[in-house]
């Protein structure tokens, strides 16, 4: 028997997502955004989801579509005010969706902390700002820091460039972003990958996400290019 995390059907890959689940969604803008996994989740139909991502979706595909389908009750992100973030804006203004704003570096560090077994850490980011209110603070060497806590999830949706059967992943350029740290921070990490490369990635020095952080892999050879899709007015489903 060989370790093999490949799954043939993208619908099977997201089949265990349940109502009320917390889901991390990789990507920064469209780079590294697992659009096809999100669309499979729309088909799957889970409701009352909490989404942890950097943004709140663009247009009416990917995360924008998931929100548009009213499957998301809360978004935890650093920047939900993109001009194309239309579905979130509409629901936010009607008080139909919750938002937790987290500074981008704190968001990244909270996610990495969950993956690294660190329940809390201190940071100078946001000290003296409204985002520090109600947070514990502590002085180290005479300087004030606030306590931030780990951010974990039931599922992580990841987009990668290459994967082997172990789930060793590499990424393309700035599509790396949140994907490696989110893969560490979820109970189940589901990856859509452009290329399955067989036995192993060619160079063990070049593995960015080691397979230990990956549970399920599905191949999506020609993922949607979000910018073009939105410009073309595409809507999912």
């Amino acid at each position: 028997m060989e370790v093999n995390k490949l799954i043939n059907s993208i619908n099977d890959a997201v089949a265990e997502v349940f109502d009320g689940a917390t889901i991390m969604i990789g990507g920064f803008g469209e780079a590294g955004s697992p659009v096809e996994l999100i669309h499979a989740l729309i088909d799957h139909g889970s409701k009352n989801l909490t989404v942890i991502a950097n943004n709140a979706g663009n247009g009416r595909i990917g995360l924008g579509a998931l929100i548009g389908q009213r499957q998301v009750k809360k978004v935890i992100c650093s920047f939900a005010r993109s001009p194309k973030s239309i579905t979130f804006k509409e629901q936010y203004e009607n008080n139909e969706i919750e938002l937790e704003v987290v500074p981008q570096g704190t968001l990244a560090e909270r996610i990495r902390s969950a993956g690294a077994g660190i329940p809390g850490f201190y940071t100078a980011t946001a000290v003296g700002t409204p985002l520090a209110s109600e947070k514990e603070s502590k002085f180290f060497d005479g300087k004030e820091y606030i306590l931030e806590t780990a951010l974990s999830a039931d599922f992580a949706f990841i987009k990668a460039e290459n994967s082997d059967r172990y789930g060793n992943l590499s990424y393309s350029k700035t599509a790396r972003n949140f994907n490696p740290i989110m893969s560490m921070a979820a109970k189940q990490t589901i990856v859509q990958v452009k290329n399955i490369v067989g036995e192993s990635l060619t160079d063990p020095e070049k593995v960015i996400t080691p397979g230990i952080f990956v549970d399920k892999i599905v191949e999506v050879n020609n993922p949607i290019i979000e910018t073009n899709a939105i410009d073309n007015g595409e809507v999912y489903p």
């Binding site: 650093s78 981008q104 570096g105 940071t123 100078a124 000290v127 700035t174 599509a175 972003n177 740290i181």
Partner: protein, 218 residues
């Protein structure tokens, strides 16, 4: 602010002139993060005799100029989500590593826009309190970069001073700004106020004080 005042306002330096002044102040070999908007103008004014390494917080160190039409790759973008290029000596990393560069004090300079800056160096630039609150990486940058430069118009669109005694808007960071570049002048943030470093020749000190709520030190 009366009509008389508005009519008497001088434009001072234009955006490109401010960008050029900042570019001159960035030392050779420094690691620099340029915020979205006006600060993006700076890199084109950096003297060819200097090499500056640009950081984009979405995991790109050694960022090059915006991508030309034929270079566009939507997986090679900057923090403003625009297609860019990578220079020789550049590298990619994930978000926690990228923000370690910022938060760990490894970025020498960041340049950001401002809604308000106080005489203590407090910065407000992320929300007016209305609409969708969205912070991005601004709070990390001001808390972590070694030098935090603000690049801004001296006055708001309503011709009110942006350099104030105390910020009225929600803060991005407290006592974080080290230097301010406006169309009227350049200031260093000091313990007892904003120290005037350079002033546009169109204006005089009286005018500057009149349009600045923060304490200015000559």
């Amino acid at each position: 602010m009366t009509n008389h005042n508005i009519q008497s306002l001088k434009p001072g330096w234009n955006r490109n002139e401010i960008a050029s002044k900042i570019a001159n102040d960035l030392p050779h070999g420094s690691y620099v993060n340029l915020g979205i908007g006006m600060p993006e103008l700076i890199s084109q004014y950096v003297d060819k005799g200097k090499e500056i390494i640009y950081h984009s917080e979405n995991g790109l160190l050694g960022m090059g100029p915006p991508a030309k039409e034929y270079e566009i790759d939507y997986e090679l973008i900057n923090a403003g989500k625009k297609p860019v290029t990578i220079l020789p000596g550049g590298s990619f990393c994930h978000h926690a590593d990228s923000f370690s560069m910022i938060r760990g004090g490894h970025i020498d300079y960041c340049v950001l826009g401002a809604m308000e800056v106080s005489e203590k160096g407090d910065l407000a630039n992320w929300t007016t309190g209305a609409g969708i609150p969205a912070v991005g990486g601004a709070m990390d940058l001001v808390a972590g970069a070694k030098n935090v430069f603000v690049m801004t118009q001296h006055l708001t669109k309503e011709n009110l001073p942006k350099l104030v005694k105390t910020c009225s808007l929600p803060l991005t960071g407290k006592s974080v700004v080290t230097r301010i570049y406006t169309n009227y002048a350049i200031f260093d943030v000091c313990d007892n106020g904003l120290k005037l470093i350079k002033m546009n020749t169109q204006i005089n000190f009286e005018f500057l004080e009149k349009h600045t709520d923060a304490k200015i030190i000559k």
